[in-house]
């Protein structure tokens, strides 16, 4: 009897903690949507900001976040894929593999502000790229590299051995194996990794606030050497102006837009990952 | 015949998962102090039948049970059944030996620790007793505090049986306990089953017809979720009445 009581009590307690956690998080979503929705409109999304974001919309900021995120993804993806292929298909030395892995995991844990600062000193100052789109894109690319790389690597490594073995038994060359077994089998894993990386880049503020963005006058950059304006830094500026109700409203609007963008990327990543699971169970 | 109810009595039972019927029109009894073999091809429902008796399917997705199932006279799918107490009475041994990542000793008294925590002081002696009953004591008495994973597969399986014995079950459900073991370990387990059936009601699902013939007094042949034939082992093996049974046995 006592055991049953303990069982029910524990269950209840666990349920309560889950409920508390979930409702807190539901509260967050409600707050973001509830506060952001009133300022959402087609005009808000398609007009440029005026009067330091107090008036007008967030068109340039959305565009800036998108191009910065996309260019970071474009730079990061081939590096991550090449690196993963190198580790799984080319490299034989276990020690070197371990070193690469440690570097990746270390990089994954580095606080983003440090990427921003040292990245700026490297790309912006040493290589002379200044505060610009390209500096921001490269910093973000390095920042998301471990996310993408780990995901791609795990996808490739989780390909069941019998696939490779049957490929080998058919007399495929290593290159043919990569092309017809490794890449197709890990396709959704690669997609998942890239999308997760993009989501991470899209939500990042600290790494780009000194390195890629301008408070005003950036617009859509006409060259890689120009600064961009992004949703993240836009929110940061507006948030500090919280006495002005218009600023607050626009900050929440931009916050909702940014959250929606990140969620779209995350949802696609979750979808791709579920496809990966399906494929591997086939 | 006396009045004590049979250890297990199933009346017109039907088991389905998500609407898909897996067992149907099951109607049978198991005798005390004897071994019954449940035979049949893979996927015929042997495992489901065993798991249903211990209510191990409760957590499965879309599980439904209709009919009546009595264990020692009490209806176990009725209201107010204490599932934990039921499983204490019905021990179960699985196909793949599974020991917990703890020491041999801790594994042996694992269930006991939760059922009778007040007997903590006696655990070492109890462990010895049940390990002896499982014919394992001599092999592990010097390694009681080593992780159970170092034991061989056959030893792990006997440890699993000792662990189940410790909880004090009157019924033993064994789901192909020797399927993943080598011949020598199989022999040891068979020896153990012979001794178990002196006191317990043993239900043994097996593919190994020779094993069923060697160990069991009764046989139950399951095919596509239904019982096609049942009866004393010698009769079923030597003179099967059912067409399907004959086909299966003659393989």
């Amino acid at each position: 009897m006592r055991r049953r009581l303990v069982d029910s009590a524990t269950r209840g307690l666990l349920f309560l903690t889950t409920l508390a956690g979930c409702s807190l998080l539901a509260l967050i979503l409600t707050a973001v949507v509830g506060r952001g929705f009133p300022s959402m409109s087609i005009e808000f999304l398609t007009r440029e900001a005026r009067d330091f974001g107090l008036d007008g919309g967030i068109f340039h900021q959305i565009a800036g976040t998108l191009i910065l995120t996309a260019s970071a993804g474009i730079v990061s993806f081939p590096i991550a894929l090449g690196s993963a292929l190198f580790q799984t298909e080319f490299l034989k030395s276990a020690g070197l593999k371990q070193a690469l892995r440690i570097a990746t995991y270390t990089l994954n844990g580095v606080p983003t502000i440090l990427f921003g600062l040292t990245g700026y000193m490297f790309f912006g100052a040493l290589l002379g790229m200044g505060v610009s789109w390209v500096t921001g894109a490269l910093i973000l690319a390095v920042m998301i590299l471990p996310t993408v790389q780990i995901s791609v690597l795990e996808a490739i490594e989780s390909i069941p051995a019998h696939y490779r073995e049957s490929g080998m038994a058919l007399g495929l060359t290593p290159w043919a194996q990569i092309r017809s077994i490794v890449l197709p089998q890990s396709f959704y894993g690669i997609v998942t990794g890239v999308l997760l990386g993009l989501a991470r880049a899209a939500g990042e503020t600290a790494a780009i606030m000194f390195t890629a963005t301008a408070f005003s006058g950036a617009g859509i950059p006409r060259s890689l050497a120009r600064p961009v304006s992004t949703l993240q830094t836009h929110i940061l500026v507006l948030a500090q102006e919280a006495v002005n109700p218009k600023a607050v409203a626009n900050a929440w609007g931009a916050g909702l837009a940014l959250t929606a963008l990140v969620f779209a990327l995350m949802l696609s990543a979750l979808w791709a990952r579920s496809r990966l699971r399906l494929e591997s169970h086939r | 015949m006396n009045d004590t109810p049979p250890p297990i009595e199933i009346r017109d039972a039907c088991v389905s998962f998500r609407g898909k019927t897996v067992l149907d029109e099951i109607d049978c009894e198991f005798r005390p102090r004897s071994a019954t073999a449940v035979i049949g091809s893979s996927g015929s429902g042997k495992t489901t039948l065993l798991r249903t008796i211990a209510r191990m399917n409760d957590g499965m997705d879309g599980f439904r049970f209709r009919g009546k199932l009595f264990v020692q006279g009490s209806e176990i799918y009725g209201n107010g059944t204490d599932v934990c107490r039921l499983r204490g009475k019905v021990g179960m041994v699985f196909q793949k030996p599974c020991v917990f990542p703890k020491s041999v000793l801790e594994n042996a008294v694992f269930g006991l620790k939760h059922h009778q925590p007040e007997r903590k002081k006696e655990f070492p002696e109890l462990a010895e007793r049940f390990l002896r009953e499982a014919f394992l004591w001599d092999e592990v008495k010097d390694r009681l505090h080593q992780p159970a994973a170092v034991l061989s597969q056959g030893q792990q399986q006997r440890l699993a049986i000792a662990r189940a014995l410790a909880v004090g079950p009157e019924i033993f459900l064994m789901d192909e306990p020797t399927a993943s073991l080598d011949p020598k370990s199989t022999q040891a387990i068979e020896e153990l089953v012979r001794s178990l059936k002196q006191k317990h009601c043993v239900v043994l699902a097996t593919h190994n017809l020779g094993q069923a013939r060697r160990l069991c007094e009764e046989v139950l042949f399951v095919c596509e979720g239904r019982i096609r034939e049942s009866g004393p082992a010698s009769r079923v093996f030597d003179n099967p009445l059912d067409e399907e049974t004959r086909a299966y046995l003659s393989q």
């Binding site: 390209v134 490269l138 690669i190 006058g217 890689l224 102006e241 006495v243 | -």
Partner: protein
């Protein structure tokens, strides 16, 4: 996308080429840079420059002005290191800064005048704290006075709001209160950065004191009068204009050497009639 590629080698090389294109285009980007003016620095000067930039772009097609905040110290630093052509400065250059960037030949151009007011939450103001003396402000920032009732206000603990040490507003304010632009404020409860942030924190509190450019004063964030020798000077543009308000300052633009080309045009634009009108619109006193 991966499936469609025939040869992984070609695919990898194509990707490599893409990366290098991305990095390579950054270098020729330098040529287009001449028409872009980068401005960074004080949030006090920021409204003037941002608005001026919007109008400047209309009259000068092809010119782009990117403006960043950060604070006066950031402005000086960026100009000194060549990251920006124009720095915004809500104070004068310090001796350290002149020394540090000797080679850059920093030059300041005053574009407007402003006063730094000592501001309090409106609740405190309406409860009776209409004026403060320099000594009272000093003791509050030192933490010696911790409750508004000691200076004639309600019985409420004072939320002392400090600013980041490199901010121009702080330099000017501390110069007046302590006679030292780098003075410490051990009584502070909160440190803020931009004027907007400070304004927000004062407004959100009901017992705060802070320092803020007069352009940021509003009904929630009220500037108290400064009592000096029996006289009370209100923080208004008038008292800045007639020079009576004790905590006033120039709003400067700083360049490395004499401005040339488009940078000179932009500074001249701000100093011209249209630019000076923007200065007045932004809540400051024009210099011309």
């Amino acid at each position: 996308m991966v499936r469609g590629v025939e040869r992984p080698r070609g695919f990898l090389l194509a990707m490599l080429a893409l990366v290098w294109c991305a990095i390579g285009t950054a270098a020729p980007g330098g040529a287009a840079e001449e028409q872009t003016i980068r401005v960074a620095g004080s949030t006090t000067v920021l409204p003037i420059v941002s608005k001026a930039a919007d109008r400047f772009k209309v009259s000068h097609r092809g010119a782009a002005v990117s403006v960043n905040a950060g604070g006066s110290g950031v402005g000086v630093n960026d100009v000194g290191n060549g990251r920006a052509q124009i720095g915004m400065l809500s104070r004068e250059l310090t001796r350290e800064e002149r020394g540090q960037f000797k080679n850059a030949g920093l030059k300041t151009h005053a574009v407007g005048r402003d006063a730094v007011a000592c501001v309090v939450s409106s609740e405190v103001y309406s409860a009776g704290v209409k004026t403060l003396t320099r000594e009272q402000i000093r003791d509050i920032y030192l933490g010696k006075i911790g409750n508004w009732k000691d200076v004639g206000g309600p019985d409420r603990r004072i939320v002392v709001i400090d600013k980041e040490t490199h901010r121009g507003t702080r330099h000017v304010f501390m110069q007046y209160v302590f006679g030292d632009e780098q003075a410490r404020a051990p009584g502070a409860r909160l440190v803020t950065g931009s004027n907007n942030e400070e304004q927000t924190k004062v407004a959100q509190s009901d017992a705060a004191i802070g320092m803020l450019s007069v352009a940021w004063i509003n009904p929630d964030v009220v500037g108290v009068g400064i009592r000096e020798g029996g006289k009370v000077i209100q923080p208004t543009l008038e008292s800045v204009r007639d020079g009576s308000f004790p905590i006033s300052r120039n709003l400067n633009l700083v360049t490395a050497g004499e401005p040339r080309g488009i940078v000179k045009e932009f500074i001249d634009f701000i100093l011209g009639p249209e630019g000076q009108k923007i200065v007045e619109e932004s809540g400051y006193v024009a210099v011309r």
